[in-house]
Symmetry: C2
Subunit: 278 residues, 2 copies
């Protein structure tokens, strides 16, 4: 079986390393010739090209470009792949991708491997990046079961934890646990930097502040793309959060300390299911 990978960054490169180990031929495509050469010399791929036409004979393609390039890439692939080929993607938002990509290529299966690192690019690619990590598939009702089965088989070979849901549920869940925390952390940083106590706050900030603000101080381009492509779900999550925080603020305003303790006790008891749940 021949597997194509478009976009040889952290995710595409790591997929190449693991799937190559399984014995598949890996046909990589990058916009840059230098990345193709690096991918060949690091044995991330068995073949590399800057031309999507090089994928004419592959059986399955992982599209590992930035979100904004996924649907345009599928449109180009649709003119070059053999009719039985399967396309899957690794974008972190699914609603904006899956319907449009499926219209272009019925054998499309939306995917989202929830593995990451602080570093980006091919040089950060690593074996076992997906091992024991969630990998979500978001097929539509009309997605051929043969295509779902084939992608599922590969994900199982990566050692990932497979979850299958619809694009909308996926997007609302990641808005809550991934995109909302970015916006909260960024706003926390903004409140502190605009405060007249900024200098003392900087001196006293400790591990609690470091952790709460970590993803808020992350990659700005990625955060912007998340919001752009998951806007309705993120806005809904922001509205729910503001409602919750307003209620909590009222509890403090009213000096309802038993109410506050009950709220914080619920948070203390609910958290393990989110962080130790797997």
């Amino acid at each position: 079986m021949k597997i194509g990978i478009v976009g040889l960054g952290l995710i595409g490169g790591s997929l190449g390393l693991d799937l190559g180990m399984q014995g598949y031929e890996i046909w990589g495509v990058s916009r840059r010739e230098s990345t193709c050469q690096a991918a060949m010399s690091q044995a991330v791929v068995t073949h590399a090209s800057t031309d999507l036409a090089s994928l004419a004979a592959v059986d399955l393609v992982f599209v590992c470009t930035p979100i904004s390039a996924i649907v345009p890439t599928v449109a180009q692939l649709a003119q070059r792949l053999k009719p039985t080929a399967i396309i899957t993607d690794v974008g972190s938002v699914k609603g904006a991708v899956v319907a449009a990509a499926t219209a272009l290529w019925p054998n499309f299966v939306g995917g989202h491997p929830m593995s990451g690192k602080a570093e980006a690019g091919l040089q950060a690619a690593t074996r076992q990046l997906f091992h024991q990590r969630p990998y979500v598939l978001t097929p539509l009702a009309q997605t051929p079961s043969t295509a779902i089965d084939e992608v599922t088989r590969l994900i199982e070979q990566l050692g990932s934890q497979l979850y299958v849901t619809d694009p909308d549920s996926h997007d609302r869940a990641v808005a809550l646990i991934s995109h909302l925390p970015v916006m909260l952390g960024a706003s926390l940083l903004q409140v502190c930097t605009t405060s007249d106590q900024r200098s003392l706050a900087q001196q006293l900030a400790s591990s609690g502040f470091r952790d709460t603000s970590r993803v808020g101080g992350g990659n700005p381009e990625l955060g912007t793309l998340m919001a752009e492509y998951n806007r309705p779900a993120l806005l809904a999550a922001l509205a729910q959060f503001q409602h919750q925080l307003a209620q909590l603020t009222q509890t403090i305003e009213h000096e309802d300390w038993s109410g506050l303790q009950a709220y914080l006790t619920a948070a203390n008891q609910d958290r393990p299911a989110f962080v130790d749940g797997r």
Copy 2:
């Protein structure tokens, strides 16, 4: 020099260990006889008693009780200490403590060692807990300089980074970097647990969610005391945060992606000064 420590938990016990190493006599007071015995057997103190009257001869007392017990403890100490004795405390909020304690005992110096651990109690006490960590003193204009100098000398012997400010500035700074993050994390957890996507969110939550929610899922009693004793500063911080988050939400509603990227870029660039600033 004889040093008293009232409250032999994590902070009081750790102070006893480090100051005992410096050669001081450490006179510990705990409400419980069993804690006194444990503190003696672990060499946290050189003397231990359940009776504050045992501190009649000490030169300086660290009050290491929960916030709510600090001022009542100072009131009791005021009837038992020698007139030249100095009292300092380790409470995480200063405005509600310093004025009242100073009225009871002019030789009072408010303090806040910003060292912590997840565990609490004497069994969690450890050497070097304060080493290279911030230790804030919040004297008033009328606080005798001799008392400030004496407490400063001990803090320097602990190897802490000393900061001196007024109680109000301290309380506003810790509201921003310590108490606000607790409320944000708790509200984030509440939004996720009340969502119809709770189950999927639990399965997909990853390191970003874990870090952003960590202090929000912490000790509920401590979070409630923080809010109770630092209510005005925390409410101001919450209002500032809600204003910031509303602006960020508008940016997303208006699809102002360059504006969002500028906001997230500022967060990305500002964060190191808070987390690597020392």
